[in-house]
């Protein structure tokens, strides 16, 4: 296993005076399912297109498997792409679409036939060889696009929001299928998405991007549990932000004054400066507890439920607490909107579930 299979070294891409990708460096491992996640305009698609060769970087260089590909055109790169709109050739049937990229590989007719057959069974499209794009459903087109790219046996498969056009149920199915497929064939996947749930459920590692920069690169659970900054914390899942100020340091802990709640010792994982008001505390809705009676947790607040939304597997409560301006979101699997009399409840927080973040 090669840990620096894809090397992205100080890559920048400027369009006029917009820095779409701004001095980004990281590595992707061989056989990894790697996601680029971020809001629209964050530079994720540009980065993918730089890898594919549709754009050339303003500065920096790109290596795949030790070869510098920075200046190579798309047809000379060991990558293939699944396009957002699939880009199935409308004048060719499914079989011809899949064969399209094999012509230049110098394979025998037998080998071509064999490969097409294999890949059709891989994406479960046997029997669809003669169909044209307009005779296929969205999910089937997606499979053709996947087959057409995989049949060339690329070193890296690039996927540009391939599930975006599918309805939710099909999307969930395809997520699972893509993940299984990737593990079976072992090709490195670089997957672009704006859907955080998609990224964290499928990927080995995720790079969260914003403003052309990598905000955090880590395993999905790390992103969720230990976000490195306020952007990541906000973008991945849901969270509550509480106003705070840091006081004195105490080894790996730091004393933090949280608005209206008092001063607490919180683990300082991110080496945040002391005596700073440029910080914020983040608490996930599901890490808090809502209850009918007072608890002995580190923090326990009197609260009043102002809104609930029932989501089936859980219920989300929006509660008012004394002194804190915004509503706090708490989710619970035990209680629902019928559980509380007069909307009175208690909210409990454990200190270890509070993450301290810099505002910038």
């Amino acid at each position: 296993m090669n840990n620096s299979f894809i090397q992205i070294n100080n890559i920048s891409k400027h369009f006029a005076d917009v820095k779409a990708v701004d001095d980004v460096s990281f590595e992707i491992k061989e056989g990894e399912f790697f996601s680029l996640l971020g809001p629209s305009g964050c530079g994720k698609t540009t980065l993918l297109r730089l890898l594919a060769g549709f754009e050339y970087p303003t500065s920096g260089n790109l290596l795949i498997d030790g070869t510098d590909i920075t200046a190579l055109p798309p047809d000379k790169r060991p990558t293939n792409m699944v396009f957002q709109n699939y880009a199935i050739f409308p004048h060719l049937n499914v079989e011809k679409n899949i064969q399209f990229g094999l012509r230049k590989l110098g394979l025998s007719n037998d080998e071509i036939g064999k490969r097409v057959k294999e890949v059709l069974s891989l994406v479960k499209l046997e029997g669809y060889e003669e169909r044209f794009s307009n005779q296929l459903s969205g999910g089937q087109r997606q499979r053709v696009a996947l087959a057409r790219a995989l049949v060339r046996q690329p070193k890296v498969l690039l996927l540009d929001e391939p599930l975006g056009a599918l309805d939710k149920k099909l999307r969930d199915e395809m997520q699972l299928e893509l993940r299984t497929l990737q593990k079976n064939i072992g090709i490195t996947f670089v997957f672009v998405t704006h859907d955080q749930q998609e990224a964290i459920s499928m990927s080995d590692r995720v790079a969260v991007m914003n403003d052309g920069k990598i905000q955090q690169l880590s395993a999905p659970n790390e992103l969720y549990k230990n976000p490195k900054n306020i952007f990541v914390s906000d973008f991945i899942g849901e969270t509550n932000f509480l106003k705070a100020e840091t006081k004195s340091s105490d080894g790996e802990f730091i004393n933090v004054s949280i608005e209206k709640l008092g001063v607490f010792k919180i683990k300082n994982n991110l080496n945040i400066a002391t005596n700073s008001s440029d910080v914020v505390c983040s608490v996930r809705p599901e890490s808090m507890m809502i209850s009918k009676v007072k608890s002995d947790w580190d923090i326990c607040l009197d609260a009043k439920i102002s809104q609930t939304s029932y989501l089936g597997e859980m219920t989300r409560f929006y509660v008012e607490t004394k002194g804190i301006e915004q509503l706090i979101t708490v989710s619970s699997q035990h209680f629902d909107n019928q559980s509380f009399e007069n909307n009175k409840c208690f909210i409990s927080i454990s200190l270890e579930d509070i993450s301290l973040l810099n505002k910038k």
Binding site: G53, D75, A87, K104
Partner: protein, 269 residues
């Protein structure tokens, strides 16, 4: 049907009558057994068509028009294809100026274009003939061809070209295997319309042909002699039928593969 609809119907009938009745006189008189265009009709004959068929100069002029038309339409469609691709696909410096430049022959009076080419051609010491006519027609047809092709290419999904590059094809391979087949109906429509424009064109030909007459020039020449009028009417009738056929074919081709949905939307609008 209410009164308002009746008014519109009358208007529509008048409009089409005004447009097509004069044209219909050509075929009618071309079968009339007389040398003059006047009522009452004298009787049915195909004699004028036989006479038309026997004119050697007419054959020569027809052949000249076909040569000019084919060369001018192929060159102008080729130029228009490259230009249309650039305008539809890319943003670049001087885009508007180049667009205006190509569209210019569409807007300036043809006679001025003709005189300008004539002056330059003669001053360069070349002989008048079919070559300057072809050059003039190429200039004149290019904007038409480009408008047709831009309409075709603008609806084109350029990720198809990227997909082709991604699948290992170089720029030429991509053009021949993906772009060209998908542009083809537009290209054929542009070729046909350019050919028809060149085939019918009179003013440029009038200034530039010298002694090699094109078909419109031949007709012009024959019109001066009353007794030669009938076979020109026969020729005119044939040209009308042929032109209508080509134009309909071009419009049909322009819409081929543009998608039923798009047409449905157009209908609703």
């Amino acid at each position: 049907m209410n009164e308002k609809n009746n008014t519109l119907l009358i208007y529509t009938l008048l409009y089409f009558g005004f447009l097509y009745v004069p044209v219909l006189f050509l075929p009618i008189f071309s079968f009339n057994d007389a040398n003059y265009m006047s009522f009452p009709l004298a009787g049915f004959t195909t004699e004028h068509y036989e006479e038309m068929w026997s004119k050697r100069n007419l054959h020569k002029a027809l052949w000249a028009s076909i040569k000019v038309g084919v060369v001018a339409s192929v060159i102008s469609t080729t130029i228009a294809l490259f230009a249309a691709k650039a305008f539809a696909r890319y943003k670049f410096r001087g885009e508007k100026i180049s667009y205006g430049g190509i569209m210019m022959p569409f807007l300036i009076p043809e006679i001025i274009l003709a005189v300008a080419i004539l002056i330059i051609w003669v001053n360069l010491g070349f002989k008048l003939g079919l070559v300057p006519v072809t050059i003039g027609h190429t200039l004149f047809c290019t904007p038409f061809a480009m408008l047709i092709l831009i309409a075709r290419i603008e609806g084109f999904d350029f990720s198809l070209e990227e997909a082709s590059r991604d699948l290992g094809e170089n720029a030429w391979g991509t053009f021949f295997r993906v772009s060209f087949p998908l542009y083809l109906p537009g290209i054929v429509a542009a070729l046909l319309l350019s050919f028809i424009i060149s085939f019918d064109e009179f003013i440029l030909a009038f200034f530039l042909t010298g002694s090699d007459a094109t078909l419109p020039m031949y007709m012009w020449g024959q019109m001066r002699f009353v007794q030669k009028l009938p076979h020109v009417l026969a020729l005119g009738a044939v040209i009308i039928v042929f032109t209508t056929f080509i134009v309909l074919l071009a419009f049909w081709l322009r819409n081929v593969g543009q998608g039923k949905a798009k047409k449905d939307i157009a209908m609703k609008l």
